[in-house]
């Protein structure tokens, strides 16, 4: 029997997800034994035309990482969708937008201005910006369109499964690959990670007092966090209450608070809004009956860049999706 064909593709991403595949170490050899990789730009020399030449549905599964922010990425993922039986959104950026999704606080114009003009290391007095079409010596050169908004993969094509994480951890990747090879997949649309909150599995959860109340917000670089205590108890914002478990508590174990890369659990529509409720239930609870409106406001003002913090990974997947400019 022919081996199932598998494609890996990257869109707006950092390359960390490719790294995660390589991190499978000797397990990668098992995967390579079991499947036939037909596209993997980072490692193999197959091109778009090779994919175009395939029959529709010929690829068993495409793992696509990265968010969608250019015309070319949109075309490629639509092509892969057509050629694939299954599409897995691989990693935070494809799943919920990820770090590239923070660009949704700006738009193309403001990003170009910053990157190609205002950055101190750039000199561009004529204000030349990338163009979709340029004539050089009579030859027309083209670039794909750069969109104003960053999209999650499922805002552009149908996605069958999601592998969360920045980057997805090797055990979840192997579980997913095994499940696909053995045909033991859960319902379509599932996130291939436990449906529990990070706080549920966090090694520090027992140190969390029943009634948590914090008076001051502290940022990770301002204090050396106690390696035993719940971050929230120390006033360091941790997105654990609004985030799905399954990462192996990687950040917590490195004594850093969670930033939400696994996205929310199943029932939560908006990770940032969930975090707003979580913070509101613990910030300034003590003497709440004595504080004035102004005091509440100044407590809240301590949270630096709340939108960027609560939606660090999930802005494109959030209800608002992006900042409204102008």
């Amino acid at each position: 029997m022919a081996k199932p064909k598998v494609a890996f593709y990257w869109c707006a991403s950092c390359g960390g997800c490719e790294e995660a595949v390589v991190d499978l170490a000797e397990d990668l050899l098992k995967v390579v034994d079991a499947v036939d990789i037909v596209l993997w730009p980072v490692a193999l020399d197959f091109k778009r035309k090779d994919v175009e030449a395939m029959k529709d549905g010929a690829i068993a599964v495409s793992f696509i990482n990265g968010a969608v922010r250019t015309e070319e990425q949109e075309e490629m993922v639509k092509l892969l969708r057509k050629k694939s039986g299954l599409v897995v959104a691989f990693g935070s950026c494809a799943h919920i937008g990820g770090i590239p999704g923070l660009a949704n606080f700006w738009d193309r114009e403001t990003i170009f201005e910053r990157v190609y003009k205002d950055v101190p290391s750039v000199r561009n007095p004529e204000g030349i910006y990338p163009q979709q079409k340029t004539k050089v010596d009579g030859v027309e050169l083209t670039l794909p369109e750069f969109y104003d908004t960053v999209y999650t993969l499922d805002q552009v094509i149908n996605v069958d499964y999601y592998l969360p994480g920045c980057a997805p951890p090797p055990d979840l990747i192997m579980n997913a690959v095994t499940a696909i090879l053995e045909g033991k997949l859960p319902d379509k649309g599932s996130v291939l990670a436990p449906d529990k909150s990070l706080c549920d599995t966090c090694p520090r959860k027992d140190s969390k007092p029943e009634k948590l109340s914090i008076k001051a917000i502290r940022r990770p670089h301002e204090v050396i966090a106690d390696p035993e205590k719940c971050f929230l108890e120390e006033g360091i914002i941790c997105l654990g209450p609004a985030t799905r478990s399954g990462c192996g508590e990687r950040c917590i174990n490195a004594n850093m608070p969670c930033r939400g890369c696994f996205g929310p659990t199943k029932g939560v529509r908006d990770q940032g809004a969930k975090m707003v409720s979580a913070i509101a239930s613990i910030l300034g609870v003590e003497d709440e009956d004595k504080v004035t409106e102004e005091e509440v406001e100044s407590l809240v003002k301590q949270i630096d860049d709340p939108a960027g913090l609560f939606y660090m990974y999930s802005l494109p997947a959030s209800m608002l999706r992006r900042k409204r400019m102008g």
Partner: protein
């Protein structure tokens, strides 16, 4: 393009009236609104009332949904400090809206569209004042087109 035109005509239309959704807690503000009604106190008819058990019940998602679905303003009103039927729901609400408000402003929403107030069951007059003030504030801001889902400011692709 067509959508941009629609937006402009709405914005300039002199008969435009804001739509404001008011979440009122059952024990205080809703009763206050009721009192305003039976006392025949006049206030602008721009609010649509949703009765909720406690202001603490209002999830930030409700407010986002209102704005996305075309409401121009949202008012959440609960019991005065110390009077919450469930002891501290109104304090939770107050903190929630303080955080949500800063967040919405980061997202480009004008301050003033989402407001929070305390109105007791005996304050029919105050209820009318609050509604008048919120309506006026929102009128000054004009129609809320920024967060409406089908008026994406950039591409309307997805």
């Amino acid at each position: 393009m067509i959508e941009a035109k629609v937006e402009n005509t709405i914005g300039r239309h002199k008969d435009w009236q804001p739509k404001i959704l008011a979440f009122l807690c059952n024990w205080c503000s809703y009763a206050g609104a009721d009192l305003a009604g039976v006392s025949r106190i006049q206030y602008p008819p721009n609010i649509r009332v949703v009765r909720i058990p406690c202001s603490g019940r209002v999830n930030p998602i409700f407010i986002l949904k209102c704005l996305q679905n075309g409401f121009d303003g949202v008012l959440v009103s609960g019991c005065h400090p110390g009077d919450c039927h469930y002891i501290s729901g109104n304090y939770v609400a107050r903190r929630k809206f303080a955080v949500l408000k800063t967040l919405l402003e980061f997202m480009g929403l004008e301050p003033g569209r989402v407001q929070f107030s305390w109105v007791s069951a005996g304050e029919g007059e105050k209820f009318a004042q609050v509604v008048t003030k919120v309506t006026e504030d929102v009128k000054k801001l004009g129609p809320a087109r920024k967060l409406v889902r089908n008026l994406e400011p950039t591409e309307t692709k997805y």
